[in-house]
Structures are given as C-alpha cells and as structure tokens.
C-alpha cells in the first residue's frame, strides 16, 4: 500500500530491503512484505489498516503505541516489524471479554468508560493495552520500584498503579480516572482468584 505512490526506481530500492513476515493480529493471520525500516506501529497502521495503536511521539516517550506482543506489553514504535515475524499482536480494539477478537467489551474498556478515564481518547488504546499487560505482570507477583518489600507479593494500591502505568502519558490529564479504572479491574481479578 505505501509503495504504491512511489516511482519504479524508488520502489526498487525499497524492495531491496523488503522482508516477508507473518503477523497474527487480533486472531487473524496476515502475510506481508515490509521494508526493514518499518516499525510494527507503521505496519499495523499503514499496512494493515489497524489504527487502534496511536503514534504520539515515535520515540518511546509516551506509550500511546502500546500493544501486546505474545501477551507482553511493548512499544510498537520502537519495534521493527521484521523482528516480530510469527508473533501474535493484540491491539486495544481487539481486546474482548473472551479470546482476542471474539467481540464484547473487555472489562478494562467498560471500566475506562465508567470511571471517566479519558477526554480526547488519543492515549486510551495505549493505556488499555498497557493496563492489560501490567495487571498480568502484577498477577505474576512482579515488583515495581515502589514495592516496599521485594520479597513479598505487591499490593495493588494507588502508588503501585501510578508507577506501573507511568509509561503512558495523557495530555488531557485523565490520570485519576485511569488509575480508578485499573484499580477496579485489578480488584475484580483479585476477587475471582
């Protein structure tokens, strides 16, 4: 798609650096050929038309491009697409109550709406993916820098949520709502464990 507007010579030089890869994005398999320079973020947005992850800074400084790759939250802007051949990518729009892509609101979607956790919404898909990854890290007992006792299981209090979500900036300053939404889903999880 993005090669289409280019002259044949230019396409030739780009093709030289092209790589074939397979990505499973929200349950659907895609085979695509990308220039080695293409970030995972641009591959998702420009090539696969998945505009759920957002480009805020393109330098790892804002978190709006956060996606889950093989279940782990990462920044799509600092990930070269070629390095993720064969990976499973989940974007915020594909999160659902059941398996990715199965439809129905994910509990975090619901909580973000109920807790007023956004204003313009630009950072929201990154926040939601980050929260899913973070709650999973928390459930596995991973510490953060504000965890008092590194030997004990952490408690999901406000300070822990703020620290663990600090990689996602919100220019609208919806932080209190974001923390509340994450806390709510975190508590629900703990209740069912």
């Amino acid at each position: 798609m993005f090669l289409d507007g280019l002259s044949p010579e230019r396409r030739g030089t780009l093709r030289r650096m092209d790589h074939e890869l397979t990505l499973r994005v929200v349950g659907a398999e895609h085979r695509l050929s990308v220039d080695s320079r293409t970030s995972l973020l641009d591959a998702l947005r420009q090539r696969l038309g998945n505009t759920s992850p957002k480009k805020g800074c393109d330098h790892g400084q804002c978190g709006s491009c956060t996606v889950l790759v093989d279940g782990v939250r990462v920044l799509a802007c600092l990930t070269l697409a070629v390095t993720r051949d064969g990976s499973e990518v989940v974007t915020a729009d594909g999160l659902s109550a059941g398996p990715p892509g199965s439809g129905g609101d994910h509990p975090l979607h619901r909580a973000f709406v109920d807790e007023d956790a956004f204003q313009c919404g630009y950072c929201t898909p990154g926040q939601v993916c980050s929260a899913v990854g973070m709650l999973d890290e928390f459930a596995r007992g991973r510490p953060s820098v504000v965890t008092g006792d590194l030997g004990a299981a952490p408690e999901l209090d406000d300070a822990e949520i703020a620290e663990r979500m600090s990689g996602n900036l919100c220019r609208c300053g919806a932080y209190p709502g974001i923390r509340a939404a994450v806390a709510r889903v975190g508590r629900e999880r703990e209740g069912t464990r």
């Binding site: 970030s39 939250r73 990854g133 510490p143």
Partner: protein, 332 residues
Amino acid sequence: MRPFDYQAPADAGTAVAAVAARPDAAFLGGGTNLVDHLRLGVAEPGLLVDVTGLLPTGISDDGGGLRIGAGVANADLAADSRVRRHYPVLARALLSGASGQLRNMATTGGNPLQRTRCLYFQDVTTPCNKRSPGSGCAAIGGATRQHAILGASEHCIATHPSDMAVALSALDAQVEVLGPDGERTLAFGELHRLPGDAPERDTVLEHGELITAIVLPPLPVAARSDYRKVRDRASYAFALVSVAAALEVTECRITDSRVAFGGVAHTPWRARRAERVLRGATPSDEAFHAAAAAELADARPQDGVDGGNAFKIPLLTRTLAGTLRDLARQEA
C-alpha cells in the same frame, strides 16, 4: 532513515562474523535505544544483526553468584527471586529505569551499551564530538543540567544514562564477550571509558564484540543494598544523580561497603574513595558526608545557560547519606 539490511542469525558466532565483516553493521538487541537513533539519524548502520533470538535468556546459579544471559529482558531480571533477595540494588536500579513496556523490551546486553541522553548528541543539527568526531561540543556552555561533574574532558561532558549499569558497577560484575578472535571476560568496571579525546567510544568493546552474559559474583554485602535515583519527575525519567550502595555493619562498625554513582560521569562511577572512608567508620551522617566529600573532591561542575550543574554536588551528597542511613538502619 538510511536503508539497512536485516539478519537474524541462529547462533552467536555467525552474528559476530556478520558484524565484524562490515564496518557499518550493528547488533540489534531490544532496539529501544538503537531504533530511536535510527529514526533520529544519530545511527546510520547499513546492516542490523538481530541477536535477541540467539542470546541466552536464562539466569543460572554460578558458583554462589548468578550468570545472566545477555538476552534476558530487563523486566525478567528485576523480577527474578534470586536477584530480589541477594542483589536488591540491581532489582531496584532496573525497576527505576524507563517504563514497564521498555523494560519488557530492553535486554541485559543492550542496557549497559545504551548511549548518552545528551540532548545535543540526539540532535543531528548541533556539533557533537561523540556523534561526529571533531565537530565540537555543543553542551559545553549550553544546557548542562544533565551533564557530568566527574571525569569529563574538554571534548565531551556527557553522562552515562543507565541505572542498571550503576548497580552492576557496585556489584563487581563481570562481562562475558564473544568477538571475532574468541571469548574474553572483563570486569564490568572496565567496560565503560572516560571521554578523553575520543568521546565517540563509550566502551572498550571492539567492533563486532558481542556481550553474551553478565556474571554477578557471590557478594554477601549485597543482601543489604539499595538504589536511589533523583530525577525531575517521579517516574519515567533519567537520573539527575543516583546512588547504588551496599553496606555491612558489624558491632556498630562498617565492615564492608559498595558504592557507585549514576548521572555524574561518562561511566557509571564506582566510588572507591567513598568506600575507603566508610571502612571501619561508625555509621553516622558525619561519616556518610565525609565519604561523599572524598569522592567528590575532584568534582568539576559545569556552568550552563540553564544554571549549570553545581547542584549535583549537594544533591549527590544528600542522596548518598540518605541511602546509607537507611541501609544502616536496615542492619539494626
């Protein structure tokens, strides 16, 4: 961005040979620093050799210490129960760096090799001896808040940005390297170099040398250790100053210690003078301040359009004293 080839070889020997064969080749770890530099035009390699699939990703017991594969993610290292128990300073240093997403991506081998966050280094429109040797240093006389107070040269006053590296320096870690001529092991404290007249070289590694593992020695003093980082915001920011410290107190005397500073030099700064002052002293604010004064005796703050960085001397002194005070209390 300059076009580049990409390879993901299956083993370390092939990766080393591939990089060694091309002067414009580079290893790609988690990419959190290198991909940013590609986009900024700070790095323009013609070939990237992805090593994430071939480097060891395990942490194994090693003669009472730990051998950490260079492919271990920063987040996985910080979460390891042995690191949390025996080397808390390392867990805390890792957890104080970057963000959850970045720590999931960043690797043990790539973290110590991340390059300075000097704003001029990252801005290709300004002179910088590190990025473009011989072009000058825009930081000297510019904004110097982030810059060095120890070991700088007239050619470069940059600081090393890694938190993890400050802890590894305090812990007497070893670095295992595979190069075109075979394997070698070096002390972590010898990995980074002061800028001198060649600031373009951050480390002593030769082109094509790949970090394959970092080894932590058995170090009982590290069981009581901590990392304290002071920055412009509470999280997701680089250190203005930081302290990695370990303390052993026996019968009201300091019998052993490890101290290293971050944010003040071109290298993680092992504070051996401070350690000498602490040895045998009674833990007290007086002793802690004396230790800081000994280490900072040669500090040279920079003037700057932003007010300069002389603030780092009292800030680091208080940060060291506070860290040691809390560690001494933990002992009791």
